[in-house]
């Protein structure tokens, strides 16, 4: 599943290649520049880039986790959050230089946040936040799923048809349009729309 996501994650940013082409010429050497080119390359190149980035991130998060005394679970969360943030950032605004450095910076910041949370340095217990108060509106950014919510979501995703799961990832995480998904799956957009509606329904049922 991860491979599919990474393979599809980037086409939306291909346009950035055109706009940032000049910058690539300036930094046309070094590992980071090569990686950057791969990130904005074709599907195979993007896969290669993400494979490199994931390896780096795995190693970096492992070392970082050890350094800050994280458990295996906490380190895996750190890795998940860092990669997720990197992918989202890449989708939204693209990356114009040093992908590994950027990814490591994200992981570092996330690890610091995590460490602070662990040590109780900031208020994060979402269950104690009254959602209706103005003050809590300001704290929205630190709101997150609790264990119950996470279990529900994961249970739902694990128990639906794998085809639906792929559709949900493609449409709601990778932000692919129905037409794009239809083209990839050699199906009509209408069929995809129906399948997506069924996928949503299945998820809703399982979440309830």
């Amino acid at each position: 599943m991860l491979e599919i996501i990474f393979a599809r994650c980037l086409p939306k940013c291909i346009f950035a290649t055109i706009t940032m082409g000049k910058r690539f010429n300036i930094f046309d050497k070094g590992k980071e520049q090569k990686l950057l080119k791969l990130l904005y390359g074709n599907e195979r190149e993007q896969n290669e880039a993400f494979s490199i980035l994931r390896k780096d991130a795995l190693n970096y998060c492992f070392v970082r986790g050890k350094k800050l005394g994280f458990s295996s679970e906490e380190t895996s969360e750190l890795y998940g959050e860092a990669m997720l943030a990197f992918c989202e950032s890449f989708q939204k605004q693209g990356i114009d230089a040093s992908p590994t450095g950027y990814l490591k910076m994200i992981a570092k910041n996330k690890s610091i946040d995590k460490f602070k949370k662990k040590k109780g340095l900031i208020f994060v217990n979402t269950e104690q936040i009254e959602l209706s108060t103005v003050e809590d509106e300001k704290r929205k950014e630190i709101m997150e799923l609790n264990e119950t919510g996470l279990k529900k979501v994961l249970h739902a995703m694990e128990n639906i048809n794998p085809l639906y799961k792929t559709l949900i990832h493609s449409h709601y995480f990778l932000k692919m349009s129905l037409a794009e998904i239809a083209m990839e799956q050699n199906a009509s957009p209408k069929v995809i729309k129906t399948q997506l509606a069924r996928a949503r329904e299945a998820i809703r049922k399982l979440i309830k």
């Binding site: 709101m143 799923l145 994961l154």
Partner: protein, 239 residues
């Protein structure tokens, strides 16, 4: 994130609120899409977490696996470094000892044209020379030093006592040999040249290289010295 969706997923809504929210989800496609986005995002994050756990179990816990190519590279570099070091040491390092057969060669009295005793068996120090011939240098040194103390043939016994002590290759014995050579050198006699040469060797072995060099230079400068050529060779190779 939408706080209402979070509250819904986290189970923080009352049954009535939940029903109302479900109805809203049916009617509001944007809200439904937002819920699905959260679901997709969390699922992706979970996949990443699982990836880390798999990686950790494969690499971190059981120890980092070093690929064979990496090991081969390291081995190749090590072999190269060791090989080069051996070659460099062989060519650059100067030899460290002079007490070897090549430099320690000195005729025994029976073969010496100037020896007082052509008939070795009748020679008073024959037992000491026997020990010397048999390379029993500890014993030879003991006997020669005994003769040096009690016998009239002191120059010869002193010289061989010194040579025997040198051959033992022990630092204390080498230091002990020096007075014997100095005693020979204290008077003018036919053993002076040999005593000077072996004294130089003894000084070298005791790491008194400057003094040893001076003595070898003295020998090398004397064309009539029987070890003149050898001294030159030593100066070239050892200093």
């Amino acid at each position: 994130m939408n706080t209402e969706i979070l509250k819904y997923l986290n189970g923080q809504m009352s049954p009535n609120e939940q029903n109302a929210f479900n109805q809203r989800l049916d009617a509001d496609e944007t809200l439904s899409d937002e819920l699905m986005s959260i679901v997709a995002r969390e699922s992706f994050k979970q996949d990443l977490k699982n990836e880390f756990k798999t990686w950790e179990s494969e690499n971190a816990i059981s120890g980092q696996k070093i690929p064979f190519s990496k090991i081969a590279q390291i081995a190749a570099v090590l072999i190269l470094i060791i090989g080069l070091s051996v070659v460099l040491i062989h060519y650059l390092e100067k030899p460290s000892h002079l007490i070897i057969a090549e430099y320690m060669e000195y005729p025994l009295p029976g073969n010496h044209r100037n020896s007082i005793a052509n008939d070795v068996d009748q020679y008073p120090m024959s037992d000491a020379f026997d020990a010397f011939r048999e390379a029993n240098f500890e014993e030879a040194a003991k006997l020669f030093t005994g003769y040096s103390a009690n016998h009239s043939l002191t120059n010869e016994s002193n010289l061989y006592a010194g040579i025997s002590l040198l051959w033992t290759k022990k630092q204390t014995n080498i230091a002990e040999a020096i007075p014997y050579f100095n005693t020979v050198l204290a008077t003018t006699n036919d053993r002076n040249d040999a005593a000077l040469y072996f004294l130089a060797i003894a000084r070298y072995e005791l790491k008194e290289k400057e003094e040893a060099k001076r003595l070898f230079q003295e020998i090398a400068a004397d064309p009539n010295h029987f070890k003149c050529q050898q001294a030159k060779a030593i100066l070239e190779a050892y200093f």
